[in-house]
């Protein structure tokens, strides 16, 4: 049952049947994949540390001859990056926390009481992920405008919460299913009410899943671009992805060094978080995708 077992089994499995030629082919494919995967990112990092002189040279170098931090300094000087990062952080943290707090009880009910309503709810989760954002953002824009929430981070948080709720539900339902229902029955036998059962029995077991879901919601909000582009008008309100596009300038006449430096910095938080929770996300998505 556990996803881990397969890994161990294949590690122990005999490989004798694989011929040497096939092995070589496999390693060639793996090498090609690694190059394809890594080289754009390495190029971004390399460009971020290159002095202007090297960026202008006819034959670009892989590793900067004279690495410099000047691009980072200029990036911060040219655009309000710190402010944008704080906006992003605020929006992403609020969206993640609110989404998870709202979704957890619902996920609990959907997972434990299968029926037509639960099936309809999970169906809606899938469907809502599929709609083109433009059909939702135009009315939302009009509504938020009448509430004076356009060009404000709270307005953006509102959109992010609703946008990440379905996916949070999807993941959490999978995690709840992994908790044996016998525990709740035992708690009920001991006289605990539903809320108490949920808070003191199920929630602690669910905690890793809840954290993973929240971090995933955080990353999606941190990376999000379309809603932020539409809703945030002035530079002091904009999030990091939107501010990054200002580096591109008109008609791609970009200042490459600061552009690369800022882009590299904007990626770091998601990369770190993702490295930590990647396994859980895969598991959660898989559980939601297959079992519901």
């Amino acid at each position: 049952m556990g996803p881990r077992r397969g890994v161990r089994a294949s590690r122990a499995a005999p490989v004798s049947r694989t011929s040497r030629a096939a092995r070589a082919g496999q390693y060639a494919a793996l090498a090609a994949y690694l190059v394809f995967l890594a080289f754009p990112f390495l190029w971004l990092v390399s460009t971020a540390f290159k002095p202007a002189r090297e960026l202008g040279s006819l034959h670009p170098t892989w590793i900067p001859d004279h690495p410099t931090l000047g691009n980072f300094r200029r990036a911060f000087a040219e655009q309000p990056l710190v402010h944008a990062a704080l906006n992003s952080l605020l929006a992403a943290v609020c969206a993640a926390v609110i989404a998870v707090v709202l979704a957890t009880p619902t996920a609990f009910v959907l997972a434990r009481r299968p029926g037509r309503a639960a099936a309809a709810a999970t169906g809606w989760v899938v469907v809502s992920q599929a709609f083109p954002f433009v059909l939702v953002i135009i009315p939302l824009f009009l509504v938020l405008k009448s509430l004076h929430l356009v060009n404000s981070v709270p307005g953006l948080v509102l959109v992010y919460v609703v946008w990440s709720l379905p996916f949070a539900l999807w993941m959490l339902v999978g995690y709840v299913r992994a908790v044996p229902p016998e525990l709740e029955e035992a708690a009920a036998m001991d006289g605990a009410g539903r809320l108490r059962t949920l808070v003191s029995v199920v929630a602690p077991l669910l905690a890793p899943g809840i954290v993973a879901t929240a971090l995933f919601a955080f990353i999606t909000a941190w990376n999000e671009f379309f809603f932020a582009l539409v809703l945030l008008k002035t530079p002091e309100k904009q999030t990091l992805p939107v501010v990054l596009t200002h580096f591109l300038g008109a008609e791609g006449a970009a200042d490459l060094g600061p552009l690369a430096a800022a882009a590299f910095l904007a990626t770091l938080p998601s990369l770190v978080i993702f490295a930590v929770i990647q396994k859980r996300i895969t598991g959660g998505m898989l559980a939601g995708a297959v079992k519901s």
Binding site: A29, P60, F131, V134, I138, E185
Partner: protein, 312 residues
């Protein structure tokens, strides 16, 4: 923590002794737990969606002083005659298929490869995080640096191999769409790979070995053992990828902003421009409706597949 552990231990014991199921039907407590998520979803997701569908039948514009009027199907009739719309729609389908199919085939091949006992497997899995976790805007910026005619690495590699030199891939009429498709594949492939890999790891290994002992070749083993086991996952992931790719925006917005000459103007970019550059809310909503119609067909295929898997 201690209480949980004791409850767990006792719980198992209790249910083993007497499997009691508390019959709770139609109880208001469940509704109370559902409301916190249900209300915002209804208010801010279902509501706007219906509002958006309604807008498609109006002449709503931004910053106009006269009141919005119903115009019925006029928006859709205009779309029918809008050459730019059809062009963007065609590009959207080419892009969605051009990204999703390689994403799936390469992703499946890689998942099979990474389920083998290879030495650098861990590195491939770790690196797979990069495209998956990166903001789309950064992916776009990064590939602009790669494709850059002067400072880009691609031109340097190709001229080193004696092939085409300083091509401006992203602004060439013929090269722009293939160039963005490659980026789309790069951005989505690891996720497909990792999900398929997780699916592969749930396939019973014993079956594989039994089939191998029976003398089944690699292709036969794949067809009779591996594929049936991962089919539900494969179906889910490719259907959702197709829909997401059809709806994508940020990547191409940053890479080409729809250019050159509209050659990479995906439907979402077209609708975004109509709505937020020209203020044609009603028209953009009509366009969103057409996109929904296409996506509904894809979704129906996907959900039908899932239902079938569920019955099996």
């Amino acid at each position: 923590m201690r209480t949980i552990r004791t409850i767990r231990r006792e719980g198992v014991k209790v249910t083993a002794a007497a499997p009691v199921r508390t019959g709770r039907r139609a109880d208001p407590g469940a509704w109370f737990l559902v409301l916190p998520a249900l209300v915002p979803i209804l208010l801010l997701s279902v509501g706007p969606l219906l509002y958006g569908l309604a807008l498609a039948f109006t002449d709503a514009q931004s910053g106009r002083t006269e009141p919005t009027r119903w115009v019925g199907l006029r928006g859709f009739q205009d779309l029918l005659h809008d050459r730019l719309f059809w062009e963007s729609f065609r590009i959207g389908l080419v892009w969605a298929a051009g990204v999703t199919v390689p994403q799936f085939l390469l992703g499946l091949g890689l998942a099979l490869l990474l389920s083998q006992n290879l030495r650098l497997r861990w590195l491939a899995r770790s690196l797979a995080i990069i495209p998956w976790a990166m903001p789309e805007v950064v992916v776009g910026i990064m590939w602009r640096l790669v494709y850059h005619p002067d400072a880009g690495v691609l031109g340097e590699i190709l001229s080193g191999l004696g092939l085409a030199g300083d091509t401006d891939w992203l602004s060439g009429l013929a090269t722009a769409l293939p160039a963005v498709v490659v980026v789309g594949i790069w951005a989505g492939m690891p996720q497909t790979t990792v999900v398929l890999l997780a699916g592969l790891q749930n396939t019973p290994h014993e079956l594989h070995e039994a089939a191998a002992l029976d003398g089944a070749g690699a292709w036969r083993r794949f067809r009779t053992v591996t594929w049936p086991a991962i089919r539900p996952v494969a179906l889910s992931v490719s259907a959702l990828n197709l829909i997401w790719n059809f709806n994508s925006f940020a990547l191409v917005y940053v890479l080409t902003n729809g250019g050159p000459g509209g050659r990479t103007r995906l439907p979402m970019l077209f609708a975004y421009e109509e709505a937020f550059r020209y203020g044609q809310f009603g028209y953009a909503a009509a366009m969103g409706c057409v996109m929904v119609a296409v996506i509904s067909v894809l979704l129906a295929v996907y959900l039908a597949g899932r239902l079938r898997e569920g019955d099996a």
